[in-house]
Structure formats: structure tokens, C-alpha cells
């Protein structure tokens, strides 16, 4: 869980009237201000300790009667919608009735009639003349300079000065008002920088290529289909009778989105937030008057006996109680360069090069390179540092000594990770990489347990089409009917073992946003272009030994007549069964 109140040093997102987002780190007690560009600036302390999702208005330094005032004003929710005249519900509520007054500053540019009907005007006689805006840019600037308000008065003045205003249709006027509002209203909303907000910000405001143009719709599908979730560490009596603890919740990932994917997975596995950055604990304790609602950090999942009688003090690191060195809920990342790129994790206070012991990712995130995975003997990091006798070590200077120990510790860790990874049995695999997915799956699918989920993201469809083709029913049938020599794999005909994945499917999703306003409801007219984004999903299976022959009806291409809901699709849905015609041949 995330924080509910803005904490010192937190990264937060500020949503501006223009709908763009900026991200700032909130450093406490500083004199310098946080600037939101043309909308103004404010002090970090003005939002610290305040709840997220509030909208603030930057007040001018001097009130109209010459008195100094400071900082920010919280804009009440009712005021946010004061300009929208909803049709009255059958029973008007007080809030609704209060709306008119709520804007308070006498600005009247409602465009909808009292009882909800739109006061319609036509735009036939209006000429599109930029000069109909009588105020000049300079005048507007001047007005802005002496403005004492939130921008609302300014907008009202601009609107008043628009000579053709009476002629505008309701629709156009509403649009015009909206445009002016976006330009001059000095408001912003403080939003927690969770993974979803981070993803959206980078996609729309920052650097979409950095995250491979991963849209939220697709990201959320990756989450579902990979089945990544928080796994209990259950001590089940294993089938062989020994009461050993089961490993579980180990996901393998190839992430070239600068760590966005890792962060997303970590959030779903409850290993993204260190205990003291954990909303569960922080909630309610910043203000003492709030009821203390102490809860354990996520680290207690594996340790239900842990008790917190008193909530730990805020702003203090506590040593993490681990349930062993990451056997459940772990992420193993394979990277192409010598070091992984996990730069986005800094927004969650994790530095991959210098991980803090108090961060759950320190023990739950494991990284290794492709070289370390596939050919550890060629990797320097996997070579054991020489063993030095106790005496020699004692004779060293302390710097050299600790250097030696650090080297050995690093070696032990990487060796442990390499061995563990090569032993496989992962519960799932997620890939978002610009490398050819065929080469990635060739080496990773064998590391998955039976029934593990595989998800491959690609901004473009072509790599996934090729991948699906290698897992087509036709190819699988040919593979089973006439298996190639196992040692010669991969062959030209079988770049991948097509029997290891079940029901390969490509899918995509897109959201479409709407404007919902009285009398003016319609889909938004522009959206993001660029890559569409696709996911390939499949399930790792364990093929039966020896020849195995299918039975049943799928020699017939005919679609079962009685099948309505899903089954009519399955006959020729994506690659897996699309090859039914090829089966005829075998």
C-alpha cells in the first residue's frame, strides 16, 4: 500500500490544469519553492503531511485589500465542478443547490439553462475573427500581474472582453471557457507517484520510448496474464512426506523498460515499499489525532507471528525482518548489459547499485546477466575470488580486508543467484525487451515450472507474429510426429520447442476516454498515436513422454454449430489452433 499523506522526500505527481503531469520530490523545510511553470510556485511544506488527491490553488501573495497571505488554498470538491450545470437529479442535494454560490466570485458564464436545457445558439453568424478577443495579449499579461485571485477572475475578465461572446453557441462557449481555464487556472492536484501514475507520466509527458511505449491497458493485462501476485509462503507437507517449506511466487523477468515492469511486479507482490514507506503503517500516525491504525509491513507475510503492539515511529528506518533470503515473492531479472537498467526504481527509493537493507527489493530482487545465466564460466563475476588464509587476511589493512570480504560476498550472492536461476522452476516469465523474443524464450521457457504463465510484450506486432508461428499447431504436430534430434535443437524448422507452450495468444487493448458533460458527452477527439502495443501469452506445459495422438473433432474445420460463446472463436483463434488446416496434412 501507498502513503495516504505526502511524506518528506516522497516523489509526488502534480496534475496541472492543462492535464499534464510533473513529478517532484518533496524535500521538507526548504526555502526554495516547487515551481509548476506558468501556474506559479509553492513551498514543499505547503503540501507535506496533506492527503493525496487534494486540489490546491496557488494564492497570490497579497490579497485584494493589501494584506499578505501565503501559500495554497485547498479547493473544495464542490468548487471543482461548480461550472458544470448537471441536470438536477430528481432530488436535488444541498451540494447541488450550493454549487451556484460556491464559485463565489460572481463569475457567471453558465451556458446551460436553469432546469438543465442547453440555451442553444447557432454559430451561423459568427465570424471566426481573432480580433473579437478585444483584450490584447499585453493587457492580459498586465491583468495577470495585478491579479490577486486564483485565475478565475482573470478568466472571467477575458471572457467578458470577448466581443463575440454572446454570439457563441453554448457548445463553443463551453469549449472556449475550458480552454481559457486550462491556460490560466492556477490549480494543481497532488497525486501519489505509484507505478500506474509513473507509467502514465513517462508515457504521456516524459519519454515514452524509455518504457517501450507501454500503455496502462497493456501493462494491466501483463499483470493479469502473468498471474503475478503476492504468494503465501505456505509450509505444506510436501508429497514426499517431509514437511518442507514450499518455494513459491518466483517470477522471471526480462525488463528493458528501465525497471517499470519490475516496479509493477513488485507492487503486485507487496515488495515495492519498504515498511516505513508503507501506507499500512504510516497511515494515521502523522497526525496524532487520527486513530492509530497500525499494521504490519508486507514483510510479515511470511511471518504471521510478528506483532506490532505499537506503531513504529514515523520517519525512522527499522531493520527489516526477512523471512529468509528471498525464497517467496521474488523477482529474478536477466539483463543484456553488464548492469541492469533499473533507473525508475529510484522513485520507490531503491538504488540497484547500492540497495538499502531496509528495502524489500534488496533481498527479493535478484539480477544476473545473460552471460552469467548461460555461460557463467565466462563471467568474471562468477569466478571465485581466491581464498586467502586467515593469517594473511589479518595481516592486511582494514580497507583491503573489507574489500576482500565484499568481493567474496558479491561472488557468493551472484553464484547463489546463478545456481538458483539455472535450477529453474519459476512460476512465470514476463518479457519486455527489444531483443528478439525467440532468442529469449529459447533460454527461459525451459526454466519454468509446469503451468507457469508466459507473457511477452512488444510495442509492435511483428516479433510476436513470428513467435506465434513457431508455436503453431501445425509446427507442433510436425514436431511431435517426427521429432528432430534433441541435440540438434534449435533447427531451422524448429527454432523453439513448440510443445512447451500451450495456447499461445496475441492480444491488445485500448482505452478510449470520454468527456461526460451535460448535453456534451462524446469521446475525446485525440489520443496517443505511436505503437499500439501487444502481448503474447501462453502457458508452460510438460509434454507427455512418447508419441501422443490427439483425439476428437478438430480434424473437421467446421465450427461446432451448438457452440456460441467462446468456442466458435477457438477453432481459429490466434496461432495455437489456427493451424487446424495443417493438421489435415498429418
Amino acid at each position: 500500500m501507498k502513503q495516504e499523506l505526502v511524506q518528506p522526500h516522497a516523489y509526488v505527481a502534480l496534475r496541472l490544469p492543462s492535464d499534464s503531469t510533473i513529478v517532484v520530490q518533496v524535500l521538507p523545510n526548504t526555502v526554495s519553492t516547487i515551481s509548476i511553470g506558468k501556474y506559479g510556485a509553492f513551498q514543499a511544506n505547503n503540501i507535506l503531511g496533506r492527503p493525496y488527491h487534494l486540489t490546491f490553488e496557488i494564492r497570490d501573495s497579497v490579497t485584494s485589500d493589501g494584506k499578505a497571505q501565503s501559500g495554497l488554498r485547498i479547493v473544495p470538491a464542490a468548487e471543482l465542478y461548480a461550472d458544470i450545470k448537471d441536470e438536477a437529479p430528481e432530488t436535488p442535494t444541498e451540494a447541488e443547490a450550493g454549487n451556484l454560490g460556491a464559485s463565489g466570485d460572481g463569475v457567471e458564464y453558465e451556458i446551460v439553462g436553469q432546469n438543465g436545457e442547453v440555451v442553444m445558439r447557432t454559430n451561423r453568424r459568427i465570424t471566426d475573427d481573432p480580433s473579437s478577443q478585444i483584450m490584447t495579449m499585453d493587457e492580459i499579461e498586465a491583468l495577470k500581474a495585478q491579479s490577486t485571485g486564483s485565475g478565475k477572475e482573470l478568466i472571467a475578465k477575458i471572457l467578458e472582453s470577448h466581443s463575440a461572446l454572446d454570439q457563441k453557441t453554448a457548445f463553443a462557449l463551453a469549449k472556449y471557457t475550458l480552454r481559457k481555464t486550462k491556460k490560466y487556472l492556477r490549480r494543481f492536484t497532488v497525486v501519489p507517484l505509484d507505478v500506474a501514475t509513473l507509467a502514465r507520466w513517462i508515457l504521456t509527458d516524459k519519454e515514452p520510448m524509455k518504457i517501450m511505449e507501454l500503455r496502462e491497458e497493456i501493462l494491466s493485462m501483463i499483470g493479469s496474464w502473468s498471474n503475478v501476485h503476492c504468494t503465501p509462503s505456505v509450509s505444506t507437507p510436501s508429497l514426499d512426506g517431509e514437511g518442507m517449506q514450499t518455494k513459491g511466487g518466483r517470477w522471471l523477468v526480462v525488463d528493458e523498460t528501465a525497471g517499470l515492469l519490475v516496479a509493477y511486479m513488485a507492487e503486485k507482490m507487496a515488495i515495492l515499499h519498504p515498511p516505513d514507506h508503507n501506507g499500512e503503517e504510516a497511515e494515521g500516525k502523522v497526525l496524532s489525532k487520527q486513530e492509530t491504525d497500525a499494521v504490519n509491513g508486507d514483510d510479515s507475510i511470511g511471518n504471521p507471528a510478528t506483532k506490532h503492539v505499537v506503531a513504529p515511529p514515523p520517519d525512522h528506518l527499522r531493520p527489516r525482518k526477512t523471512s529468509g533470503p528471498g525464497t517467496t515473492n521474488t523477482i529474478t531479472l536477466i539483463h543484456a548489459n553488464a548492469q541492469p537498467n533499473l533507473s525508475l526504481l529510484k522513485y520507490f527509493h531503491f538504488d540497484a547499485f547500492n540497495p538499502s537493507i531496509s528495502h524489500p527489493l534488496e533481498s527479493h530482487l535478484k539480477t544476473l546477466s545473460w552471460l552469467q545465466l548461460l555461460s557463467p564460466e565466462d563471467d568474471m563475476g562468477c569466478a571465485e575470488p581466491e581464498i586467502v588464509s586467515e593469517e594473511t587476511i589479518q595481516s592486511w589493512k582494514s580497507g583491503k580486508r573489507s574489500n576482500h570480504f565484499r568481493k567474496r560476498r558479491r561472488w557468493e550472492r551472484i553464484n547463489f543467484v546463478v545456481d538458483e536461476t539455472r535450477a529453474g522452476e519459476f512460476d512465470g516469465l514476463i518479457v519486455a525487451s527489444i531483443m528478439n523474443p525467440v532468442s529469449i524464450l529459447r533460454h527461459t521457457v525451459p526454466l519454468l515450472r509446469g503451468a507457469a504463465q508466459v507473457v511477452v510484450y512488444s510495442p509492435t506486432i511483428e516479433p510476436l507474429v513470428e513467435l506465434s508461428d513457431y508455436y503453431s499447431t501445425g509446427r507442433r504436430t510436425a514436431f511431435v510426429t517426427n521429432p528432430p534430434d534433441f541435440n540438434s535443437m534449435p533447427t531451422e524448422d524448429f527454432p523453439l520447442n513448440p510443445t512447451l507452450l500451450l495456447a499461445p495468444t496475441i492480444q491488445t487493448a485500448r482505452s478510449r476516454s470520454w468527456q461526460v458533460l451535460p448535453g456534451r458527452t462524446h469521446p475525446l477527439m485525440t489520443g496517443r498515436g505511436g505503437s499500439e502495443g501487444y502481448v503474447f501469452t501462453a502457458t508452460r506445459v510438460l509434454p507427455a513422454e512418447g508419441k501422443i495422438e490427439a483425439r476428437g473433432t478438430f480434424k473437421r474445420r467446421k465450427v461446432d454449430d451448438g457452440v456460441t460463446r467462446n468456442s466458435s472463436r477457438q477453432e481459429n483463434a490466434a496461432s495455437g489452433d489456427s493451424g487446424s488446416m495443417e493438421i489435415d496434412a498429418s
Binding site: Q453, D469, P518, F554
Partner: protein, 497 residues
Amino acid sequence: MAISSSFKSSPFLHCGPNAETDSLAILHLKRDLLIPTVLRSHDELNEGYSEGKVSNTRFGSFPHSTLIGVPWGSQVRASIVDTGSRGRKGWEGKGKKRKRDKESQAQDDVAGVEKKQKVEVESKAAVKAATGFVHLLPPTPEIWTASLPHRTQVVYTPDYSYILHRLRVTPGTVLIEAGAGSGSFTHAAARAVYNGHQNTNTEDSTQDSIMKRWGKVWSFEFHEQRAQKLQEEIEEHGLNGIVELTYRDVCQDGFTPNDTPASELKANAIFLDLPAPWLALKNLTRASPSSPLSPTTAIHLCTFSPCIEQVQRTITTLRTQGWTEIEMVEIAAHRIEVRRERVGLAEEGLRGVNDSPASVDEAIERLREVEGRSRIFRNEGNEGEEQATAPGPAQVSKQQRLENIRHALEGRKLYKEGRLIHRAEPEIKTHTSYLVFAILPRGWSEEDEELAQGKWPAKAEVKEENGGPISKRQKKKGAKTRAGGNKELEIEASMKA
């Protein structure tokens, strides 16, 4: 249906290496043909087979003794099972639909498979059949959504994925859901909120339960049978303790679960899949004494409605009740099929191909041939009518040609021939529902604000209430150096007061 209470953990949340007795399992026949069944070590209904409990499918019969203990994900061969002369009634349900109403049809999809006929009494080992197999999978919410018995419209994977994402449902979230319907959303939500099991068996667990905010789904359904059926599934799937289902009309009677005061829910996420969500909203305000909302967190809400009128009413109501960041979106998702498309004269007579000419050259070749044939026909046509009935040389050659093509098929690797293409699945859902999202910020009183101002006093020249203003110049400067709404801004000033 017997309810097993012996689950330590739900197979949706954790499955060991092997399929275990009493676990829900999915028999994967092929894409979108998935049969859920609860694995039983014995034929507890005493209905039948000498092999114990058996799942019969289009692709063969599978005694559970051949499934239990097998690694999840295994391909399992069918067994030879005497299904008895009358034993075919419930076969697979989906395949051959009889004239039955949808509801009972849907039920048969699951339950029907497990209906058996009495054959003999003594139990015997299963014998492998020559053909037929299934893949044995543990359940996931995605598989369950694709295979569950439909009792209502359900929320499918693309929608629920996006909804849970936008609702910021993560481990530890307390989510309210109404109406539960067929439980599709419920299962996905349970996986998302899960952050450990509340131990209800041990005496001293109460302390923990209070301390930890356990992820939970508080689910409501006002249709009695549906509620009952879903309750059975929740228990059978080991989700009790995570999902708490209450039979109640949330519009009329609010969000008070059985045995728990609403004020103890402290929910921070809400999903309403109801015909009139705006009627439920009055029970989701902070003001109400029986408010189920967490007083110390923001609340994320989503409503799911097929019609735009529902959306408008919902949003109008939301605006009057303090909800902010109101947004409406639709999700359009589709699958894409990949295949090899074969075109050309060489494909003549084969199935699943287009045997028209693949190129201008082939077209000309074909035209020449036809041209030649008709010339023969015209020349011979003068000689009499028997020509029409007797097999002409052209027809013979066609037969021969088809024969040759069929012969050549043996040696071809069709899986890599033709052109690799992709296209949308034949039928796509262009509209499921409109998704309305809104956020109710945590309540923030003037005292709260005062306390916060005390804790985080404004700095330097700006003092509380009557301090000096930030100078315009300073503000301008800040704006200049950091202008540009798209840049990430960090304040690098010292932390000193």
C-alpha cells in the same frame, strides 16, 4: 456439492508442484475449451466408475486417479473407461448443445462433466487409451473467467485488469464489490488484494488481525441463488477469509456485511457492477454513520455500466458527493490470430486455402490452359453431342492434377509455407461497458490542516497567515529555471530549515 474446508491455501494463490486432492483443477482441452473440476481421490458421490471419480470429455475420459499427484501443467493421456451405455448425458456440455435454457446449459459445463453412471463397484487401475489427452492446469482468475458457469454477464479479463489497475488495488487493499454476479471479477480481485491469510483458527490470532490491514474483498449480491452458488465456489476455491460475500441489496440496505458492522470495513476501493450504481452511492459517503469507507485513506471507485445514460446519472451524482478526478473510459480489446495463408494453383483442391492464381504468371498459365481446352472443345464440338457426356481429356487431367497435388502434400512442410499473416479474431467485442472512475479524497478538516501547518510550517519570508509573501521575483525566477510542464523537477535545496 461437498465443501472441503481442508485448504491451507487457495490454488488460485499458491499451488504446489503437483495437483492435489480436493483442489480445483482445470482440464485444458483446447483454447477456450476448459473444464473446471475438483480433484477427488475417490468417487465420493458413489455414482460410478470403477476408477473412482472420472471427468469425461470430448477428448477422452480422465479418472482423477490419473491426475492427482501429477505435476501441474502436465499433458495427461486419456484412459479407457467404461462410460456405460447411458453414460453420455453430461458429456462436456459445451460441445453438443441440446435445447436447454442457457442457465442449466452453463451449469452443465461444470457439473455435468462430473455426472456419472453406475457401472461396477470394485475399483481398478486406469488403463491408458491409445489417443486423447488434456493438459492439467491449476486455476487462475483468467482461466476461471473463461470457464466459469455463467449466471450473469461477467467482467472479462481486459476490463477487470484495467479496473483493478485504475482502482490501485494492490496487496492489502480492502475492496467492496457489488453485485458479485458470477464471480468473475471477484476472483481477479481476490488475487490482487491478497497479502496473507488471516489465521482464524488459532486463539491468539486476534492481535495480528487487528494490527495488519489484510487485503479483502467485501462482496454483495442480492440474488439469492447466485449468492449461494458463489459462496459455495468461494469455499471450494479456498478463498474464504479473503472474499466475504453477503446476500444483500446494497441500494436499499447499504454495505453492511453479515456479522460485521459497516464501519469496520474501512474499504479503500469500490467496484459497482449494478444496473443503477447511483442509487448505491448514497451509502458510500463519509457522512453516513454506517459508512464502509476508510476514514484515513482516499477511496477509488469504478462503476461499470453498458449505457451512456447510466454513466451520466452516475457522474452527476458523483459530482454532488465530493468525488473528484471523475473520468470515463471504454476498453476495447481483441485477440489476434496468426496463420499461414496459402494461395495458388498448386493448392487446388486442398482445404483451408485459396486455390486461385497467386500471381499474374499463374493467372496467365491458367488462362492459356483454359484457352487450349476450349479450342479442343470447339474443334470437336462440331462432331456431335456425345462429347458433352463422355469424359473429355481436360477433366481427366484435372482429376490427375488433384491427385498429384494430394500426393505432393506428404512431403510439404505446410507450417512454414505460404505467407505469415495476422488479423483480428473473427468476432470482436466493440463495447463491453463504460467505466467511470472517481476518487474521494480523505476527509480533511480545518483542524487537520492547522495541525499539518504546525508540523510543516511555511519557511523563510512566508510565515503562517501573516508572514511576508514570496517575492514575485523569486517566483518568476523559479518559474523560469524550471519552466516546462514536462520536465521532472527536483528541489535540490538544502534540507535545513
